[in-house]
C-alpha cells in the first residue's frame, strides 16, 4: 500500500531529530511470553509474530487477550519471556516505544468532569505533541471519530457510543504506528457497532496504521481484520490470514424439505458417510459424484432440495469440535 510507504519514508527522514523509527518486518514479536497471576497462568509460553495490517486477536473471555495487550504496552510485566513491539523491546524501551502506539482499553477510562476537547488535547500533549499541533490534531481526530458540537460538553453526559469514540480518539490523536483496541465495540448497539467497525477499518486501511483488535466476537473480526491470531488458555491456537480461516471446507451441507432421515438412509445405502446436524445433513465432499448422488436420491424420494452447498468455515469452528474432524480419517 502506497500510504504505508510514504508514512515510513517521511518518518525516517525526520529521524535525525527524533527517536529512530524503522519499519519492522513484524509489528509484534513475542518469544516464550508467560504471565502468571498466583496459580493462574494467563499467558503460557506464547510465541507469535504479527505482520503489519489489521490483526484480530481472538479468544474466549479469559483467554489472555487483555493480558497480552497490557504486557505489550508495558502496563504489566511478563513473568518470563520477551516481547518486541515495532522493533522496540517492551521491557527496556517502554517510554520510547509508547510514543508510537495508541491504546483503547476495554474498561471505562475517561474522566467525567472535563470536556472531550480538553481531555484529548491533554492526552495529545502527554503523547509529546507540541501545543499547536496538539490543538489541531484534537479537532481533526474528534472530527474523524464523529464527535462534533458535543465535544465541548463534559464527558460524564456522553452516551456509551460517544465515550467509545472519545476512547478511540485519545488512542489516535498522536497518529500512532500501531493501535491496540481492546473490545472496541463493547456496550454498543448494533448501529454503533457498525460505525465503530467501519471507523476501525478505515483507520487501518486508509491511513496505514497497524491495528491489533481484541474481540471475542468472531463476526467482528471477520468483517474488519486481514489476519487472525487465535489464543486459548494463554496459548497460541492458530494464526494466519483471515482467508485461511474462512476457506471452503470438505463438507457438503444438504437441506431438504421433508424428512431428512429418509434421505440420510438412502445416501448411506449408496455408500456415503452422512452426519445429521438438526435439519441439515453433512457429507464429506470428495468430488462431483457426491452432488449427483444427493440430487438423484432427492428425486427418488420426492424431496425438495432446499440447499446444497460446500460449507465455508467460520471462525466459530475454531472453538467447537468441527464435523470435519469426524471425517478426517476417511
Amino acid at each position: 500500500m502506497h500510504v504505508i510507504e510514504t508514512r515510513w519514508m517521511s518518518s525516517s527522514a525526520s529521524s535525525a531529530a527524533y527517536p529512530l523509527y524503522t519499519p519492522p518486518m513484524h509489528v509484534i514479536e513475542t518469544a516464550g511470553l508467560t504471565r502468571r497471576f498466583g496459580d493462574v497462568t494467563a499467558l503460557d509460553d506464547l510465541t507469535i509474530a504479527v505482520p503489519p495490517g489489521i490483526t484480530g486477536l481472538v479468544g474466549a473471555n479469559g483467554a489472555g487477550k487483555s493480558t497480552l495487550i497490557r504486557i505489550l504496552l508495558g502496563l504489566l510485566p511478563a513473568t518470563s519471556g520477551s516481547a518486541r513491539v515495532l522493533g522496540y523491546d517492551v521491557a527496556s524501551e517502554g517510554p520510547t516505544l509508547r510514543q508510537f502506539v495508541g491504546y483503547m482499553p476495554e474498561h471505562d477510562c475517561l474522566p467525567g468532569d472535563v470536556s472531550a476537547t480538553e481531555f484529548i488535547a491533554h492526552m495529545a500533549r502527554v503523547n509529546g505533541l507540541p501545543g499547536d499541533a496538539a490543538r489541531e490534531r484534537t479537532a481533526e481526530t474528534l472530527r474523524h471519530v464523529g464527535l462534533f458540537e458535543e465535544r465541548y460538553r463534559d464527558i460524564r453526559g456522553y452516551s456509551t457510543g460517544m465515550k467509545q469514540r472519545v476512547k478511540l480518539a485519545q488512542a489516535l490523536v498522536h497518529d500512532p504506528r500501531l493501535l491496540f483496541l481492546d473490545e472496541p465495540t463493547n456496550g454498543l448497539d448494533p448501529a454503533g457497532r457498525d460505525d465503530m467497525l467501519d471507523l476501525v477499518r478505515r483507520t487501518g486501511h486508509e491511513f496505514g496504521i497497524s491495528i491489533v483488535m481484541a474481540s471475542h466476537l468472531l463476526g467482528e473480526i471477520e468483517r474488519v481484520c486481514d489476519q487472525v491470531v487465535v489464543i486459548d488458555g494463554g496459548r497460541l491456537l492458530r494464526q494466519g490470514a483471515i482467508a485461511d480461516f474462512t476457506a471452503a471446507t470438505g463438507t457438503l451441507i444438504v437441506e431438504v424439505e421433508g424428512d431428512p432421515a429418509a434421505l440420510a438412509d438412502a445416501l448411506r445405502a449408496a455408500g456415503l458417510r452422512v452426519e445429521g446436524d438438526g435439519r441439515q445433513l453433512l457429507l464429506p465432499f470428495d468430488g462431483d459424484h457426491v452432488l449427483d448422488r444427493v440430487r438423484d436420491a432427492c428425486a427418488d424420494l420426492g424431496l425438495g432440495l432446499v440447499r446444497l452447498e460446500r460449507r465455508r468455515q467460520a471462525l466459530e469452528d475454531l472453538f467447537r469440535p468441527a464435523p470435519e474432524a469426524l471425517h478426517a480419517g476417511s
Binding site: 482499553p105 477510562c109 474522566p111 468532569d113 489516535l172 486501511h205 486508509e206
Partner: protein, 295 residues
C-alpha cells in the same frame, strides 16, 4: 479491500491526517501532566462549581496578609502583628481545607476513572507520573503558603517610608519567606497526597487528610503538656506544629513563651530535620503506591 485508494478517502474525509511533526517524549509528557494537574487543582478547565472551593479557600489564605498591609498602610509599619515568620499560625485553616478538599482529587480522579492505564501506556514511567502529579499539587499549595509571605514582604517594603533602609534591614526575609513557603507546601502537600493516594474512597481521603492536620494539633498540645520527657516529642508529629517550628528555624526567630515549641523545648533545627524526614517518607509512600498500583 474497501476504500483502498487513500486519495479517494482524503477527498471526502478531511478529518484525519497523518502527523510527521516532532514527538517530544518523556519530558513533555511530564510537563503536560504537571500543567493539567495544576490547572485542575484550581478547577481551571472544569465547570464553575469545581472552581469555587479551591479559589475561595486560596483567597482566605491571603486575608491575614491583606489585613496586616492595610493596618500598616493606615498606621505606618510600626505595628507588625502578622509577619512571614508566624504567618502559618494565621493560615492553618485555609491550608488544611485546601489539602483536604483538593488533594483527594489529584490521584483520586485517575484511580476512580481508571485513567491510569492511559497514562501508563504513554511515554511515561510510573515514577514520572507520581512526581509530576505531586509537584503540581505542591505548586498549587505553594500559592497559599508562599504567596501571602511574598505579598507581606514586598508590601511591607513598599509601604515603608524609607525603602532602601527597609531593604538593608529586611532583605533576608525574602529568601527566608521563599524557603519557608516551599517547605510548608512540600511537607503538607506530599503528606496529604500520601494519605489520599492510599484511601480507597474520596470521603476517606478527605477525612484522613483533615485528621492528619487537625486531630494531631490538640493531641500534640495535650501530650506536650502532660507527657513529660517523652510527650514533648509529639510536637514533631503534628504537621502544623512541626511546620511552624520549621518556619521559626528558617527565620531564626525564637518561639513565643506560650507556644508549643517553647513548651516542648526541642532544638529549633530539629523541626527542619523532621520536616525533611516527613517529606521523604511521604514521597516514598507515593512512589511505592504507583509502582504497585494496577493500571
Amino acid at each position: 479491500m474497501p476504500g483502498a485508494d487513500p486519495r479517494a478517502g482524503a477527498i471526502y474525509d478531511l478529518g484525519y491526517r497523518t502527523y510527521d511533526g516532532p514527538r517530544l517524549g518523556r519530558r513533555a509528557a511530564i510537563l503536560a501532566l504537571y500543567t493539567f494537574t495544576l490547572r485542575g487543582a484550581f478547577g481551571i478547565g472544569r465547570r464553575t462549581s469545581a472552581k469555587i472551593v479551591p479559589l475561595v479557600v486560596a483567597a482566605f489564605a491571603f486575608i491575614p496578609a491583606l489585613i496586616q498591609l492595610g493596618v500598616a498602610a493606615l498606621l505606618g509599619s510600626r505595628i507588625e502583628i502578622i509577619a512571614p515568620w508566624n504567618y502559618l499560625g494565621y493560615s492553618e485553616v485555609p491550608v488544611a481545607l485546601f489539602c483536604a478538599g483538593v488533594a483527594p482529587d489529584i490521584f483520586g480522579r485517575d484511580l476512580r476513572y481508571r485513567t491510569l492505564s492511559l497514562y501508563f501506556s504513554r511515554a511515561l514511567l510510573r515514577s514520572d507520573y507520581a512526581i509530576a502529579k505531586t509537584a503540581a499539587f505542591v505548586t498549587a499549595l505553594a500559592v497559599l503558603t508562599l504567596g501571602p509571605l511574598l505579598l507581606l514582604t514586598i508590601g511591607n517594603g513598599l509601604a515603608s517610608d524609607d525603602l532602601p533602609g527597609y531593604l538593608a534591614d529586611h532583605w533576608r526575609e525574602f529568601p527566608q519567606s521563599l524557603a519557608a513557603g516551599l517547605v510548608i507546601a512540600a511537607v503538607a502537600g506530599c503528606g496529604s497526597l500520601a494519605i489520599a493516594a492510599h484511601a480507597p474512597r474520596r470521603a476517606y481521603a478527605t477525612v484522613g487528610v483533615a485528621a492528619w492536620f487537625l486531630v494531631t494539633l490538640p493531641l500534640a498540645g495535650i501530650l506536650v503538656e502532660i507527657g513529660g520527657e517523652i510527650g514533648r516529642f509529639a510536637a514533631w508529629f503534628s504537621p502544623f506544629d512541626l511546620l511552624y517550628g520549621a518556619a521559626l528555624a528558617i527565620f531564626g526567630h525564637t518561639p513565643g513563651a506560650d507556644s508549643i515549641q517553647a513548651r516542648a523545648d526541642l532544638p529549633l533545627f530539629s523541626y527542619l530535620l523532621l520536616a525533611v524526614a516527613h517529606f521523604a517518607a511521604a514521597a516514598l509512600l507515593i512512589l511505592r503506591r504507583f509502582q504497585r498500583v494496577q493500571a
